[in-house]
Symmetry: C2
Subunit: 313 residues, 2 copies
């Protein structure tokens, strides 16, 4: 089961970090961009090829120390179809290095359309009886506002293709509470908790061998109280934790998302890793090395709080 | 303002219908696919070119009788980057015919990432000081579960670029009520109503000259009671109404979404128009003609309920 594969990666590397691949042109050293613009033009294609070159170098520098990467679809869509080509090639390259790939797309729609998203991002696309992979990640982030029939088509694909989903439960942004913290009248619990409970329930269809199902939840590091509450309330739901670092979540906060085995969560870092060369003010040619040094710092910081990571027998 | 442009289109054509462009290969006559597969191969590219050829013929057949089209991103994403190229070219072609284009993407993310989605689908992408358009629709459907800071970046782009958004309020699918109908404890109103109220509030930043703001709402035809309630409660929020026809919404139901001027809503039809040639069992070469006949039937059906459409002075 896909979440099992993620946990095996985490255990092997003793690192519960996912490196976000949300590249902006500003993050990419000038010499990388100059090469791509010269070859492909100073346009969407040149920009997309810059993202890809940057990502590949980061992946080369990170694959043996991080278990997973999380490309954020928006930062590729903004470069049009060349951006989506770079997105697909980034995913393929990360997978070729054994990384678990979580596409951060927060997709959501009614049943029939969700099938199309499931095919696009997790499954395969049929063209007259032949099967092609569009973007082929290992897991996809999903918004559950539409309810069960928006999730069911994903569960079917996840079951058949060994894939997983992460449902937005408590997001990391400042306005997250406007809806998510509203108390539900009938249940005397907030909406985020109702969403979390549904993750447990949806996950019954995708059980895993380490106690966590194929239906994960996105729970922000910026709300540590809720992270702790949800860790206790949702014992079979693996967490994707954004908001560490730049958004304000500290290592003490994210530690609340882990279980006694050091499992149960993976913490995202995007900008801190991608822009480490700018923060370090090192030789731009060493941007990938700086990313690796930051990833190691983050791993050590988290592991100091969590202790070891082991798979339950 | 973008919603004003939509209403002017609706008024001019006396038709509150948006034609959904959610093409599946099954919907496309064999001779169209055969031509594309021969030229581009029986692969994602050949499939994507089939979608584009199908869409262009539909647009040629519909542009003078419908005010708007709504391409659904999922059905293009599933064909990978060639699908996204067909998506961009479909949008460009529809705009070249004067159609208002609503991209149905249900995008959502935290602030910085929402900026990237806003650039991708409504605004422009900067590459070293030059501006490029990635997908460039007139409006985008959006999921508001993350709250105001997920919407604000869109409002900024909408204001600057004359674009609009439609926020999911009450969706058309069977499970819609699982979260959306939950009563909120503090407000004694369901979540969908809280989301609707926020649409009114977000819309204050994008006022229009006909009484409707640049922040619309998606309200399904399959829940007529709520559609009526929301029409009364949200006087400045324009509705995108899915669920008519195949999903079960009737003309009497959708009529509840309109105001006394015959404005306030646009009703989506996807499959019924795209697959009209299959239902009619006509010559496949006449697929675009069948789409036009269905669009005219739908227009007449709706207009019989609504009466005329006029712009308030």
């Amino acid at each position: 089961m896909s979440m099992d594969r993620l946990m095996e990666n985490i255990m092997q590397k003793q690192n519960p970090t996912v490196a976000g691949l949300d590249p902006k042109l500003d993050y990419i050293p000038g010499y990388v961009k100059a090469q791509c613009f010269e070859k492909y033009g100073k346009n969407l294609q040149g920009a997309a090829e810059s993202l890809l070159a940057f990502n590949k170098a980061l992946i080369d520098s990170l694959w043996d120390i991080v278990p997973a990467v999380k490309p954020q679809a928006a930062y590729y869509e903004m470069y049009g179809w060349p951006g989506m080509k770079a997105f697909a090639e980034t995913i393929d390259y990360a997978k070729s290095k054994g990384l678990f790939v979580i596409t951060d797309g927060k997709r959501n729609d009614i049943g029939a359309t969700m099938q199309a998203y499931a095919a696009a991002h997790l499954g395969a696309t049929d063209v007259e009886g032949e099967s092609f992979q569009a973007f082929g990640a290992d897991a996809l982030t999903v918004n559950g506002y539409l309810g069960t029939d928006c999730i069911d088509p994903l569960l079917a694909v996840c079951g058949a293709k060994d894939k997983g989903i992460f449902v937005l439960v408590k997001t990391s942004n400042p306005s997250a509470g406007e809806f998510q913290d509203q108390m539900m009248h009938a249940m005397y619990e907030p909406l985020y908790r109702a969403m979390g409970n549904m993750c447990q329930q949806w996950g019954l269809k995708l059980p895993g061998k380490y106690g966590y199902s194929g239906v994960g939840a996105v729970v922000g590091a910026t709300y540590p109280k809720q992270l702790k509450e949800l860790r206790a309330a949702l014992p079979n739901t693996f967490f994707l934790v954004p908001g560490f670092g730049a958004q304000g979540g500290a290592a003490d906060d994210v530690a609340l998302g882990f279980d006694k085995h050091g499992l149960g969560a993976i913490v995202n870092s995007s900008r801190a890793i991608m822009c480490a060369w700018q923060k370090e003010n090192c030789d731009p040619q060493d941007f990938a090395g700086a990313a690796r040094r930051e990833a190691l710092r983050m791993r050590d910081q988290l592991m100091a709080k969590i202790g070891g990571i082991s798979l339950p027998v």
